[in-house]
Structures are given as C-alpha cells and as structure tokens.
C-alpha cells in the first residue's frame, strides 16, 4: 500500500489557499468544533471495507450541520470555492462505502446532528424525520409513546437510519420492506441553496405532505435517491400498524439445487400477499456467520470453503443449504387462515422442514431473523464480518425476476466466480413483490494484499459476467459506482449529466455518486 495519508489533502482541483478560505468560512458558519480537519478526527471517516486503499477514499475535512439554514450555508461556501461535498446521514452504509467519500479529497457533510423526530402520526401511521435519526431512536420513540406502529429496517437496524437507507433505496424484512415505496415527502436543499419539498410539501398550509406522494405535475422524489442533485434534510415515510399477532416461520431445505423450487413455492404466496413481508432465502455461510460461526473454526487452508465443510457447518448449526424466512401478520384468525395456505403449499412441495418459534426457541439465526421481520432492532448480522475476518466486505446485489430459473442461474454463476477467486458464496435472496434482490457479501481479508486483489478481480468479474447475461446490480459500493453506471447505458448517463449540469453546474454535490460527475464526458 502506498503512502497517501490525509495530511495536507485537498479536494480535486482546489488549491490550498482556496481550501483554507473555505475552511475558515465553514468554521465561521458552523463553529470550529463542527469542522474537522485533523487526521485523527478523519481516520474513522475513511475506514472502508472495499478492495482499494483507504487513502483513495480519504476526506480532506468533515463538517457537521445542525439546521437546514446551515446546510444552505455550506452549499453557498462550496459554490464560492468549488468544494465538492459528500453528504452522509448516519454514515452506516457498511459494505457499500461506509462514511467515506466516493472521491479522495471530498469534504464530508455529516448530518448526524440533525437528528430530530419531527412528527409521528399514530392515526395515519406516518413519520417525518431528519437525516441523523436512527432506527433505534425511532423504535424507542414508538415504545415510549406506546404507538401501535412498527418499523421496517435493514440489518444494521439499531444504528442506521431511515432517511439514509431510503435515499440509497435499501430494503428491509417486513411488509413495508421496500423502503422507497413507503417514502412520502422529501425536503431537499438544492445546489443553488433553494429548499425544495416534493409532493404536497410545496403547498402553503397543506397537511397532506406525508400521506399523498404525487402532488401535481412531475413527481421528482426518485431522482434524488442514489443521486447527487440535492441534499435531503427531511423525509416522510409510512409506518406499518403493529398487528396483534406475528408468526415468524423458517423453512429449511437441504440441497443447493432446491433454490428454483423454493422460489416457485414462495412467489405466488408473496404476490397474493398471503406472505406479505420481504421473504429471505439465505445460504449456509450467511446464516452460519450470523449465528457466530467462523470459517477458521472449521478450516485453516486458504481459498473457498469446500462443500464437505459446509455440510459440517449445517449439521453443527442446524441449518439448511437454504433457509427461508417469512412472517404472517394480522389477527389470530387471519394468521391461522394464512398459515393453513402456506403450510399446504409447503407440504405440496414435498421436501424441507418447517420451524416456528416453538421449535426454534431463542436459537440464532432464527431469533434475529424473527426480530427483523417483527421490527425489533438488533445487530446480529454483523457476525458476517467474522466469517473470514480481515475487514473486507463488498455487497454484490443483482436483481432478477422472482422466478426459480433466474435464481438458479444467478446462484450458480455467482458461486462459480466467487469460488474461482478463492472466496465463499455468502448470499441471500430477498423476495420483493415480483423481483429478487440477490444480495451477496463478498467477504475477504484486507490484511492480505493478494486476497484483496483477488476480491477486486472477483467483484469485477461478477459485474462483467452478470452484465453479459442481462443482469445488473441495484446498488453498489463507491469503488464500483462508475462501473455500474455503465451497465445502465449511455442514454441514461447523458440524461443524468444533463440534469446535473442544470441543477449543480459547479459540480459540488457528491461528484461521482452513481457515476454522475461533470468531469465525465457526457
């Protein structure tokens, strides 16, 4: 690894004098304690898990704002000095780039201190929050107020936040698991300093901002997600009424080749909303790691883990080759009826094993999977990082139709590429209404430079080979964002850059995010 310490680091194209002037203005606007420039303050902002040097994503500074007016002030300074800023909310986008900027030298705008829960309406089941609000904070708020509502969140639930997760189009595990679908109303600071509210938010005195998404004319919410056209400072979203009964279920299947039939079993139940939540079909390594197993408990040799070892892991941890998690919600009568339908379909499949809370008790991974489906925060899934150890983690997340044949193809292809590079398939399918998010954690040891190079080559090959077959990922870490933008075609990129030129001519908002950067030739 080369020497690229953060000392004296500047944003691209910005000279020292200009940068120092901007820093002085930031201090004046935000207070010196909210402008971080010392290396020891910036180290945790650049701890990445990607197959590249930490220094390639080192920030030159980090600033924290506490009000919308301060965000407007930051944007003004950035325009004056052409300072590129990388905005984070809670910054817990682990495996997708964490808190580090997409390009070396960008100034981080950290909105963690904007952490007010502005409104929760228990009757309408809506919330309006600032960027720094965490799911745990919101969970505690609902508990304290005894509101009969529940949350949907991603696996780093307790410490991540709804605004950031939704802006990155993350998913959860409840019936409200497609988070952007449940979003309703945004407030966005644009690059020119204007404060834009989507949907009904622009109508003076209107109170339907969090209940009616569309407003009038073009609906623009989506263009601010996974994008760099504005800084979201408030977000509304819908909360699910907490049902009187929740019944988590696990179906274990013994063979890897069962995947196609599993999807065919689940899809009709999912589309018909008999099973209303985002069902997970998780492989052995994922579940074993979340249950506390480490690869080194079983094998010391480098390379991918042989099938014979995985079989042993399954026996020890009481896992299937595929482990399917679903949950039924409603009154006891509703749950009973739906269970009968689900159980009937499962029995017709003629294989596998069904576990309920009664059989599984408090064992992992059933416990944490159940909690996520019931809206209870936990951090159990971080155990994935201990499977191989070494701090390397990159999510590869292609989408597909919810068809057995598609999953069969994607699984076989992913596993063969990962194993070829000496890495394990640690993956799960998340069944949306009609789609599958195939989420694979490419786990590797960053202390080993050779393995890091292999992981990098592996990720590139995954992107290339999936693209050749018509697949693309829905989200990716900052190292590969420009590469993935290429998969979606030139017309889309030209349009995105046209919008960028119109909205942010100085290219100050997160240039490089999702491959959008006015320094590109579009």
């Amino acid at each position: 690894m080369s020497d690229k310490s953060a000392k004296g680091l500047l944003p691209q194209g910005v000279d020292r004098a200009n940068f120092d002037q901007a820093i002085a203005k930031f201090r004046n606007l935000l207070g010196a304690e909210n402008v971080l420039v010392e290396e020891q303050q910036l180290v945790p902002y650049q701890k990445v898990m990607m197959s590249t040097e930490d220094a390639n994503h080192a920030p030159s500074a980090a600033v924290t704002a506490t009000t919308v007016e301060q965000v407007q002030g930051v944007v003004k300074i950035c325009n004056e000095h052409k300072i590129p800023i990388w905005t984070i909310s809670t910054g817990r986008n682990f495996g997708y780039g964490s808190a580090a900027p997409v390009q070396r030298g960008q100034v981080i705008l950290d909105l963690k201190k904007m952490n007010k829960i502005l409104e929760v309406d228990p009757d309408l089941g809506t919330a309006l929050v600032e960027p720094g609000v965490t799911y745990q904070q919101l969970y505690d708020y609902l508990q304290e107020h005894n509101y009969p509502l529940m949350l949907s969140f991603s696996a780093p639930s307790a410490i991540a936040g709804p605004l950031g997760n939704t802006m990155d189009r993350g998913v959860g595990y409840t019936p409200y698991g497609e988070h952007f679908m449940m979003q309703c109303g945004m407030e966005v600071v644009l690059a020119n300093g204007d404060v834009y509210r989507t949907g009904m938010g622009g109508v003076e005195g209107n109170n339907a901002w969090q209940v009616f998404k569309w407003g009038y004319g073009p609906t623009l919410d989506g263009m601010f997600t996974q994008a760099n056209y504005g800084i979201c400072t408030k977000m509304g979203f819908w909360l699910m009424p907490k049902p009187p009964v929740m019944m988590p279920l696990e179906f274990q299947f013994p063979k890897e080749t069962d995947i196609a039939d599993i999807v065919e079993f689940i899809r009709p139940l999912r589309i018909a909303q008999i099973i209303p939540n985002s069902v997970v079909i998780a492989g052995t390594v994922w579940e074993a790691a979340a249950a506390g197993a480490r690869r080194s408990d079983y094998i010391k040799e480098p390379g991918h883990t042989p099938e014979s070892v995985l079989e042993q892991v399954r026996k020890d941890k009481n896992l299937g080759a595929w482990n399917v998690y679903a949950c039924l919600y409603g009154t006891q009568e509703q749950v009973d009826v739906n269970f009968k339908i689900v159980d009937g379909a499962f029995k017709a499949l003629g294989r596998g094993r069904l576990l309920t809370q009664k059989e599984a008790g408090n064992t992992q991974p059933f416990k944490y999977r159940s909690e996520m489906m019931m809206g209870i925060p936990n951090l159990q899934e971080f155990g994935l990082y201990n499977w191989r150890g070494g701090g390397g983690s990159m999510w590869f997340a292609p989408v597909s139709q919810a068809r057995g044949s598609e999953c069969d193809k994607q699984y076989a292809l992913a596993k063969s590429i990962l194993n070829k590079h000496g890495l394990d398939y640690a993956g799960e399918f998340i069944v949306g209404w009609r789609d599958m998010h195939h989420v694979i954690d490419v786990l590797y040891d960053r202390t080993n430079e050779e393995e890091t190079r292999r992981a990098d080559a592996c990720f590139n090959e995954l992107l290339d080979e999936f693209e050749k077959r018509g697949y693309a990922v829905y989200r990716v870490n900052t190292r590969f964002q420009d590469r993935v933008a290429q998969s979606y075609g030139t017309v889309k990129r030209k349009l995105e850059h046209t919008l960028k030129r119109a909205l942010d001519p100085n290219n100050i908002l997160a240039p490089g995010k999702s491959g959008i950067d006015l320094n590109n030739k579009f």
């Binding site: 690894m1 080369s2 020497d3 690229k4 310490s5 953060a6 000392k7 304690e33 971080l36 010392e38 290396e39 020891q40 303050q41 180290v43 945790p44 902002y45 650049q46 701890k47 898990m49 040097e53 930490d54 220094a55 080192a58 924290t64 809670t90 910054g91 817990r92 682990f94 964490s98 808190a99 963690k112 745990q136 307790a158 410490i159 080194s296 010391k300 925060p377 936990n378 951090l379 159990q380 971080f382 155990g383 994935l384 990082y385 201990n386 150890g389 070494g390 701090g391 040891d445 960053r446 202390t447 080993n448």
Partner: protein, 202 residues
C-alpha cells in the same frame, strides 16, 4: 508475579470483565513498576471473547496506565453498543482502547466517528503460527507513537511471545518511548486469529 496480579489475571481470563474497576479487590488492574509518564485519563479496554485469555490484558495490566483502565467484553448486543455510544457522547474526557473481532470493531470505530472522537489507532491483525500481518488504517503515516507501534508489531516475531501483550501495553500507555513492553510480550503464547485493535480519545 504476586498473588493479587495472578488472581486478577485469572479473573480476567475467566471472563469476569464486566467492569474491572481499579481499586476493587481482586479486579484492579495491577500497577506497573514502570514509571513512564502517561495519561491519567480514564480508559475503557474492550476485548473480544477470544482475547480475554490472551496477553492483551496482561500487557495493559503491566503498563504504567493500568490504574486508570477498566475492562469490558465487547459484543454485538444492542445494549452494549448503545451504552458505548452514550459513553462516547457524554462529553467526559476518556479513552477507549481494545482488541476485538472484526464485527465488534466495525461498530465501535464507527461509534467513535459519530461521537466526533479522535481515533489514534486502528489496525487489522491476522496472526497464525506461521505468519503475522498488521494492517494499519489509514496506512503509513500518523504520529510518532503510531509509527513506532506499527514498526514494533511488524518486527515482532512469534518466538518473542504474544504480540497482543505488546499491543495491550502500548495502547494503554500510548507513548513513543521504548521501554518495558517487550518484556511482557514474552510471557504468554501468541494470540492467533483475526482481530482489530483501536485507540479512541473522546
């Protein structure tokens, strides 16, 4: 080794690390004979389950800063993480050092970031009987103390004993002065596996 220190170490290795407060009978971290001037800032040492039996805590106990260090198990429990978050954001001057697994360290270091704390040291360690790798984040550079510790770890050989004792001693004392660390590093078998160490100042 005197009886107090032996019972302390036994308590630590048995996992009685919930809160090892200086001065509590049988749980106080032993004072070192060394007289190196070090910080007296209250310090929390976080250790993973696999580390409790290692030389890491012995290294801390042997350091001149031992009397201000309390130790605690790190984990993935929400309660532990929220308590640590509250602690880091309390405004109290303090240090948090540790040697944990990757999962816990990922959370701990990020809590330091969101608390606006200074992170003096983050390093990934992969140590087996055959080899040892210590990967400093963000790479070469940093302070004299950081650079010296990195050099010492890189130069450390298995025959010298347990690298984690050296690390514990150095993270607790946090000075660039070459002193007794290597002595304590020779007393225990080397800790093997994958870990992350850190030193945080809030």
């Amino acid at each position: 080794m005197n009886t107090d220190r032996r019972s302390l170490l036994k308590a630590m290795t048995l996992g009685s690390l919930a809160t090892i407060a200086a001065g509590h009978s049988g749980f106080a971290l032993a004072r070192s004979a060394a007289t190196t001037s070090v910080s007296t800032v209250p310090t929390l040492a976080l250790v993973g389950a696999a580390v409790a039996d290692s030389g890491f805590l012995r290294g801390i106990a042997a350091s001149p800063a031992a009397s201000v260090v309390r130790a605690k198990h790190a984990g993935l429990g929400v309660d532990f993480i929220l308590e640590l978050e509250q602690r880091l954001q309390s405004g109290q001057s303090q240090r948090v050092i540790g040697l944990t697994d990757d999962a816990s360290a990922t959370l701990i270091v990020d809590l330091a970031r969101s608390a606006g704390a200074r992170v003096h040291w983050v390093s990934l360690h992969n140590v087996s009987a055959e080899s040892a790798r210590h990967h400093l984040v963000p790479g070469p550079g940093g302070t004299a103390t950081t650079a010296q510790l990195q050099r010492e770890l890189d130069a450390f050989e298995a025959a010298q004993g347990d690298w984690s004792a050296l690390l514990g001693y150095r993270l607790a004392a946090w000075t660039a002065t070459a002193d007794a660390a290597s002595r304590f590093a020779t007393r225990t078998p080397a800790l093997t596996g994958q870990f992350v160490s850190f030193s945080i100042e809030a």
